[in-house]
Symmetry: C2
């Protein structure tokens, strides 16, 4: 047998997997993947769902995700232009952990807010 364990290790500064972790452990990546979880979406559609994201950031983040094989981009030669983005099979495997982070944030925010005010009170604001 040869299941090869190349010993990729995110805890090592120079390991390529660390760079990869840095990209997926990112708020924009998380929200975009969540936005694409229900299926393909157009540029403008994603922009609406990810409230507050600027076109510039959306463009560059999508490009990075496309480059890493997480997203596929399909441009239709129409006028006006129409471009659709969709998670690849690889991107699908990111759904679970990233959605988990999103729901964690929503479900524990009250606990976090409490901890925060307690801390700020304990310290000097």
């Amino acid at each position: 047998m040869e299941t090869e364990q190349p010993a990729w290790n995110v805890m090592l500064e120079t390991c390529p997997s660390r760079t990869s972790l840095a990209k997926i452990a990112n708020k924009w990546t998380a929200m975009i993947v969540i936005a694409l979880s229900d299926g393909p979406a157009r540029f403008g559609g994603i922009r609406q769902r990810v409230d507050g994201i600027t076109g510039k950031v959306l463009t560059s983040t999508l490009r990075d995700l496309e480059r890493d094989g997480v997203v596929v981009r399909t441009a239709y030669a129409e006028m006006p232009p129409r471009v659709e983005y969709e998670l690849t099979p690889l991107g699908q495997t990111l759904r679970a952990p990233l959605i988990a982070l999103g729901t964690w944030a929503e479900q524990h925010i009250e606990q976090v807010l409490q901890a925060r005010s307690a801390f700020d009170q304990r310290v000097g604001r």
Copy 2:
């Protein structure tokens, strides 16, 4: 019944949960939580495990995590100082999703690297 769904939504720019997501969807947070997954650790110990992190970043990230109730800090009045950090019960709930991200990065890095070179070739480098 009243399970209250305050409608926290990370997709909304001004929702506090979005700020919370931004903090946990972060490479340093992910690696520190992973480093603390096996149990309590000292400042220097974490620093060793999270290869390449500077003291400044480690200090501020730990402080943020402490403030949000994800980590507890215990300082022993000794000389030289000894300080231990440990995940709180709340922090424990972050282990699974963050470890998942770390292992994702390690297990899919080859696929990512392939996608990357394919993309760079397809485009103009």
